[in-house]
């Protein structure tokens, strides 16, 4: 089970958080501080897994952003790693070559994506979300004409 998702910048700034297990605000701050200390220190050629407090944190760096997910120790690590990648792919498609600034200024959109991403990808099937994500964002932002998702180009 996924306990939380963190997006941290290389400077240790929090870009996005999502908590699926109950943590108090204080605990959250502590967790973030502790984990960013561990993860940001790791070199580039190491594995994507960190053992932490009996959990595992699966992380991957994309440009200046670290995407981290905390899971139970016996969960399938690679599965989660690809979920992260898929999340990034979706963001990429939505923003068109996503960058950190996109995520900062559109945190609410990502949040939308994120909260249902868990539903659709993390716990749910992943490719089936393509239709949904368009639907979802269309509903959310009423942007049908301008937001062009070309499903044909998605090579999945």
């Amino acid at each position: 089970m996924i306990h939380f998702v963190l997006l941290i910048s290389r400077q240790g700034k929090v870009r996005l958080t999502k908590w699926y297990s109950p943590y108090s605000q204080k605990e959250r701050t502590k967790v973030i501080r502790e984990l960013s200390g561990v993860i940001l220190m790791r070199g580039p050629k190491l594995c994507n897994f960190v053992e932490w407090r009996g959990f595992k944190v699966i992380y991957k760096r994309y440009a200046s952003l670290y995407f981290c997910m905390c899971i139970d120790a016996d969960d399938n690590e690679l599965e989660i790693l690809e979920i992260i990648h898929h999340f990034v792919e979706i963001l990429d498609r939505y923003f068109g070559s996503v960058c950190e600034l996109d995520l900062i200024f559109n945190f609410h959109k990502v949040n939308l994506g994120n909260s249902f991403l868990r539903k659709c990808i993390v716990e749910d099937d992943y490719p089936g979300t393509e239709g949904t994500i368009v639907e979802f964002f269309r509903d959310a932002f009423k942007t049908e004409p301008r937001l062009k998702f070309n499903l044909d180009q998605v090579n999945i």
């Binding site: 190491l46 690809e82 539903k119 393509e130």
Partner: protein, 1020 residues
């Protein structure tokens, strides 16, 4: 973009981004929060759009880590909005801002339910998503049936059913009762026939949770899972949008195999065969490709398949295939695969018969121990630990030792512990074990916990053959230039005990050993000094004939420490000095340590208790289950008993709990000869290692000098003495701060009883304060001086002492200062006048505050009846006229006392003497009788003569007849009762054998509460 309208939000975000420092950011955030607060206050003016905007801002602020303690209501209320945009924001912000325990969530249960059962599909999705994210127990109870209906409904679109499945999963996790097993298992089987892979994946997530809890009910799902796997593996009927980098839904594959691992076995041969075919295909058909993502996805499936193969305990052939694969993985360049290879190999150890094939990869695993990635190093260490057995222990342990010098600090303690455990478990011979541990201390002393060296001492003590070797090694290591303090401890202990065995060897003469240890003495901390003092005492004992020069040197050191600030050291110095002057008697007192009772290694226990990740734990559990085949682990040796050899050697730094049971056991062994320790657990500093200390301490619990040395000890330290029991307790407990409640040190009742018979000693002690008392008596006047000593380096505050005097005493306590400075002692005189005879006891209600802990104790003051007695010897001429003149009740009372503690006449005489009753021998012609006299002082009676006659029955020592006479009826009665109390249960005898404490005495540590006398006195 459509959100250009949300400009306020963008502006706020860039403002926050532009802040130069944290302080500016906080100011900007505070300003915004203030703004939002005012806006929310006059809600009327808010358009739905504005409300939405502010709620988003709140969420952003919250996400940055600031507390947002208002506006939750606004966020929640948006859920009830009729229009989609507001409702959507309401749902999303609520699920981010609140967690499942938040009260506000209750307010929306109804709205959420209406959305779920409503017709609007988008609303259904929103509601299901939020409940699936943060639904708690209450949601589970009220919404589960509706969600179930949606999931099995044929009219719902897959989009909704997916969310329903995941929502139900959340609700089931919160409250497993929401799914009724009987009806639902058939439904689940039906749901697995689903063609839509999206819905199927969600249903599979649900199934994993269900079978994890109760696989029995879902047997019918098993063949369906295998079918799904077949369908995916053969890529039949998988729409292209459900393949990821060419792999048919890896997520569904992983989940299905996960679900299958919860069924203990697969009985149906056909199903089993089909499954193995699929697994075989996955195992063989997974190639390493260039595309990272494809690689990851295919290996995610592969590793899950490996886990399933291991779980099913497949044929040997398939297993060795797995090991071969893993062997390949641990050598690849890709770090993720290497990590997972090691992790799964550790899991593989649980499968029988593969250890041998895993051992073939030992060299590669050892290489991984030097991997640049700590995650991988940890896995390698765990695997090495798990795969170690008698055949490879030497290699592995030596490898670990070598690695220890270069390992990073975070891993060293674990490394040291594991090396120690392996060395202990699989040592081919004991001397190797000693070598390993000494090397361990030498290389990583800081990371070697006390448990580890305690264990060495234990083994050496229990194996005579090992003792000379250990002593020689200890000397060798101690001789090195820079020695770690732990090494000083273990070496000086071993040398003290066993160096005499090697005394003829060059370099092992007592003098040389002493010189070597004494070199280290100035460098060690106070926790090591007591141990070294014990070693000196042992050296002295073993030097026969005594060497005057050495004796002088050691005595000088004892003398130096006699006034040392640390009580433990001071006490040892004083005791050893006194004892070592006894010459040959020293041999009996400082005998060699008895063998330790053999028990489970506390190290192993500690390793099990340590919070480690599950894989590691499993490896350790496996270890404990494994048969061990070595000489070190002896089982069930009888505990040390037989002739009681008394060792005065105490272990330093006993911060751990005594095993109470063991202490009890040892008390029984003491045969009631003496009890020097309360079976009271010492402050627990490290619970996991309690067992080990049990090992080490149990024989020490019976430590104790013989009666003769007790008295000499008392004579030696009038200031400290408070009865041998208190001394024992003092020595065995440490001044440890306790986390919750303050436990008294020593038994309060026993301390009180001891003080009833003497005039100075310790009345009470706990980790913070020590209360000593000194008394003087003049006729019916008494004077106490209370010594309140702060044992800590910070002051004791709010000190209050209130006297609760009984009616017969007039007492006056001088002012007790409110604060006792650090390490200071305060003297408080207390004057008292005895008005009449009574057995009631005065109580001192003492309270103080240490940091945040408020401590309150009620202490009985030893102003008891016998303190106002003055023994007086009378002649026959004086006695008999008096005796006759006081005829009959109420002035003369006679009683047959039964249940008397059997004691010989001389014992009774000494008891009477200690009660200030002068026994006049020869007055009574019958030698079985005792006649005693005393003078009682009080304000009402002034000096009054009391006469006592006791007639004992030589054939039955448990009963006697007692006659008491005095000029005052109250006095006669009270004195009779008082003496009776002392005869029936003798709290503490002065000289000869101390009565044994009942071994099963419960929680003596709480004596202040369990002692009925104290409670009664408190009520007065």
């Amino acid at each position: 973009m459509a959100l250009s309208g949300m400009r306020g939000l963008s502006v706020f975000i860039s403002d926050v981004r532009n802040c130069q420092n944290k302080e500016q950011e906080r100011q900007r955030v505070d300003k915004e929060l203030g703004n939002i607060r005012t806006r929310f206050k006059n809600e009327k003016g808010l358009t739905p759009y504005e409300k939405k905007k502010y709620v988003w801002k709140m969420l952003y602020i919250y996400m940055l880590g600031y507390d947002v303690d208002f506006g939750h209501m606004e966020a929640v209320s948006l859920i009830s909005a009729p229009k989609y945009p507001e409702k959507q924001v309401g749902y999303i912000v609520t699920s981010c801002l609140l967690n499942e325990n938040h009260d506000f969530l209750r307010l929306v249960i109804n709205t959420v339910r209406n959305d779920i059962i409503g017709r609007n599909e988008t609303f259904q999705c929103l509601a299901l998503t939020m409940v699936g994210n943060i639904g708690g127990r209450e949601f589970a109870e009220s919404l589960a049936p509706d969600v179930q209906k949606l999931l099995i409904s044929s009219s719902c679109r897959p989009l909704v059913r997916k969310k329903a499945a995941l929502c139900l999963l959340r609700l089931y996790r919160k409250n497993s009762d929401v799914v009724n097993v009987d009806g639902w298992s058939d439904r689940m089987a039906q749901l697995l026939d689903e063609r839509d892979i999206g819905v199927l994946t969600s249903v599979m997530s649900l199934l994993v949770a269900l079978v994890a809890n109760n696989h029995d009910a879902y047997w019918s799902c098993l063949p369906k899972c295998v079918k799904i796997l077949e369908r995916l593996a053969r890529s039949q009927d998988v729409p292209p949008e459900y393949t990821y980098y060419g792999i048919p839904s890896p997520w569904l594959q992983v989940k299905t195999m996960r679900a299958l691992q919860y069924f203990p076995t697969i009985e149906d041969p056909n199903t089993r065969r089909s499954l193995f075919e699929v697994l075989q295909r996955i195992l063989m058909g997974t190639d390493v490709v260039k595309n990272v993502n494809k690689n990851n996805a295919s290996h995610a499936v592969l590793f899950e398949a490996l886990a399933l193969v291991m779980h099913l305990d497949a044929e040997k052939e398939m297993m060795s295939q797995c090991v071969a694969l893993l062997g390949k993985f641990i050598a690849v360049r890709e770090p993720n695969i290497r990590y997972l290879g090691l992790e799964n190999m550790t899991r593989m150890l649980m499968v029988t018969d593969v250890q041998e094939s895993i051992k073939r990869h030992q060299a590669q695993i050892i290489t991984s121990l030097k991997d640049p990635d700590i995650s991988i190093r940890r896995r390698a260490l765990d695997l090495l630990y798990g795969m170690c057995d008698v055949t490879n222990a030497k290699d592995i342990v030596e490898e670990l030792l070598q690695y220890l010098s270069t390992a990073d600090f975070v891993m060293r303690e674990e490394l040291a512990l594991k090396a120690a455990i392996l060395a202990e478990k699989f040592a081919p011979d004991l001397s190797w074990y000693v070598d390993v541990i000494l090397q361990l201390i030498d290389k990583a002393g800081d990371f070697v916990s006390d448990d580890i060296w305690y264990r060495v001492v234990q083994f050496v003590t229990n194996n005579e053959d090992l003792q000379p070797y250990a002593a020689a090694k200890a000397r060798e290591f101690l001789d090195k230039p820079a020695v770690h303090e732990t090494m000083v401890k273990v070496s000086s202990y071993l040398l003290g005990e066993y160096s005499h065995l090697l005394a003829r060897r060059p370099g092992f003469s007592p003098k040389e050993i002493f010189a070597m240890i004494n070199d280290k003495l100035p460098t060690v901390s106070t926790s090591t000094v007591p141990l070294i003092l014990s070693t000196y005492a042992k050296i002295l004992m073993h030097t026969q004939p005594p060497d005057p020069e050495l004796q002088d040197q050691i005595w000088t050191i004892f003398n130096k420490y006699e006034s040392f600030i640390d009580v433990e050291i001071q006490q040892r110095a004083v005791e050893y000095f006194a004892l070592s002057r006894k010459g040959a008697a020293l041999m009996d007192i400082l005998a060699e340590m008895p063998k330790f009772p053999e028990r489970q290694s506390a190290l192993l226990k500690r390793a099990e208790d340590t919070e480690v990740d599950t894989a590691e734990q499993s490896a350790i559990k496996m270890r404990t289950q494994q048969q061990t085949s070595n000489a070190l682990v002896v089982t069930d040796q009888p505990p040390a008993n037989g002739p009681l050899s008394v060792g005065l050697v105490k272990m330093p730094s006993m911060q751990h709990a005594n095993d109470t049971n063991l202490a009890d056991q040892e008390l029984i062994h003491a045969n009631g000869a003496m009890v020097l320790m309360d079976p009271q657990p010492a402050p627990v500093a490290a619970p996991p290692s309690a067992d080990l200390l049990g090992d080490l301490l149990s024989p020490l619990a019976i430590e104790g000098p013989t009666a003769a040395s007790v008295s000499s000890e008392q004579n030696l330290m009038p200031g400290l003495e408070s009865g041998p029991d208190a001394v024992g307790a003092l020595a065995l407990t440490t001044v440890e701060e306790q986390s919750n409640s303050v436990q008294p040190i020593g038994n309060i009742t026993e301390r009180f009883n001891a003080l009833c018979l003497k005039d100075s000693g310790v009345l009470y002690e706990d980790p913070y304060i020590q209360i000593g008392i000194k008394a003087e008596w003049h006729a019916h006047h008494g004077r106490f001086v209370l010594f309140l000593g702060n044992k800590n380096t910070s002051p004791l505050a709010s000190v209050q002492a209130v006297l609760l005097p009984p009616s017969h005493l007039k007492m006056e306590l001088s002012l007790v200062p409110e604060i006792i400075p650090p390490r200071a002692q305060v003297q408080c005189p207390l004057e008292l006048v005895n008005l009449r005879a009574s057995r009631e006891v005065a109580v001192l209600d003492l309270s103080y505050k240490f940091s945040t802990a408020m401590v309150n104790v009620k202490l009985r003051l030893p102003a008891v009846l016998n303190k106002f007695l003055q023994p007086i010897s009378v002649t026959a001429e004086e006695f008999f006229p008096q005796w006759r003149s006081l005829s009959g009740p109420p002035l003369k009372l006679q009683e047959v006392v039964r249940g008397v503690k059997p004691m010989s006449l001389p014992d009774m005489v000494s008891l009477f003497n200690s009660l200030h009753l002068a026994v006049s021998p020869g007055l009574d012609p019958n030698t079985n009788n005792l006649v005693a006299s005393t003078t009682f002082f009080s304000e009402t009676t002034r000096a009054m003569l009391c006469l006592i006659r006791v007639e004992t029955d030589p054939s039955d020592r448990t009963q006697l007849r007692m006659t008491i006479a005095s000029g005052d009826p109250t006095l006669t009665f009270e004195l009779k009762e008082f003496i009776k109390e002392h005869l029936v249960s003798i709290p503490v005898a002065s000289g000869p054998p101390l009565p044994a404490q009942p071994p099963s005495q419960p929680a003596v540590s709480n004596a202040s509460f369990t002692d009925p006398g104290a409670i009664l006195a408190g009520l007065l």
